[in-house]
Symmetry: C2
Subunit: 218 residues, 2 copies
């Protein structure tokens, strides 16, 4: 199936997405970012997912987006999750940045596809998790790379984009993906808080899917 880049945060969505890419028999390079987020704990989870799935190469890229500010997820002075239409956990242009670096890596290493665990349903509100954004990015990548110009553009796959959280969990379970390796909480404590938007969505997803969430909560 050729080489694939997978954007792997260590969360539930990207973990499931990695399991899907692995099941499709790609030769995988996992790419994680250390961008000064509150939940950088996720990177340890990304490492454990890489190990569990037998992914051979894992690139962890330091990326100082936290210095820019503008999000409660990277700026400790902002309160988590104020209730606007787009939550303040939105990190400015995050998926554009992550996909662009994945694109550079894909072209440098000859990968044909990039997997991203973006999800527009249960995580609505983030503009860069919508199908129209993914499509526009793919077109930008086609126009802005040597490979694209030569007629062999890199594909962006977002297999979870139209799934509910429960559907994502069912899909992962069908692939025997161990969700105890994933981390979703935004609060950055030792155990998941069970109260932030991300924990609530996760718990709701497990409930609807009919499985127990294997991680511990405070």
């Amino acid at each position: 199936m050729g080489k694939a880049i997978i954007l792997l945060s260590g969360g539930l969505d990207s973990g499931t997405c990695a399991a899907i890419a692995k099941a499709a028999d790609h030769d995988i390079i996992a790419l994680s970012f250390d961008y000064g987020s509150r939940h950088s704990k996720e990177i340890d989870n990304a490492r454990r997912i890489v190990q569990h799935l037998g992914i051979q190469e894992h690139i962890i890229m330091p990326l100082a987006l936290g210095k820019f500010g503008g999000s409660s997820l990277v700026d400790e002075s902002m309160k988590l999750g104020d209730g606007e239409e787009i939550p303040n956990t939105y990190v400015p242009a995050r998926n554009t940045v992550f996909l662009s670096i994945a694109l550079a890596l894909a072209e440098a290493r000859g990968a044909d596809v990039i997997y991203i665990g973006a999800n527009a349903v249960d995580y609505s509100g983030y503009p860069d998790c919508r199908p129209e954004f993914i499509k526009a990015f793919e077109e930008t990548g086609r126009l802005g790379t040597k490979r694209g110009v030569e007629g062999n553009p890199i594909k962006i796959l977002a297999p979870l984009i139209s799934m509910t959280k429960a559907e994502i969990i069912k899909q992962g379970k069908s692939l025997d993906f161990p969700y105890e390796l994933t981390w979703s909480c935004y609060a950055g404590g030792e155990l998941a808080c069970g109260k932030c938007d991300s924990c609530l969505l996760r718990l709701k997803g497990f409930k609807e899917a009919g499985f127990d969430d294997p991680i511990e909560y405070e």
Copy 2:
């Protein structure tokens, strides 16, 4: 004129572009990348340009694209400038990466425009220096940011995109921009080599513009 981000490598094009942005009376944040290129000497030039133009904030972002390989500009094991249609100095998806980080910075800091010194005429061959790429990126940015979704997208300006090198130099000269602050050579020596593609284009541009190039050559 509001706040602007300027992508500033320290080369002739981005220096001229910074002078144009400054003349348009923007409040400017300059953004440079230390990405392991052979000509990282350019960053010192970027600093001097920032100082000369009186730009108040300069962010220099480490970005380990060099680790990915795939370009003679970041990979010392490749020979500079093999003569293909797209030169091997092309860095995979570089402008996509640079623009995406500029987009994140612009949204975090409330800037309305991003200036990029991309040029499609005398630097042909790089796919990510073409107007259609810039336009596609702008659209991706509109779809992938909170501001874009809210109807106030960030503009990408590439004022040099259709100019010849000579026209760029004339424009800079009309703004009294001191080209001795810029660096173009790819070879990474103490003085410019005068032989690489980039030096040759620069020298040709000065000749056609009717000015002397103020930098020293080997």
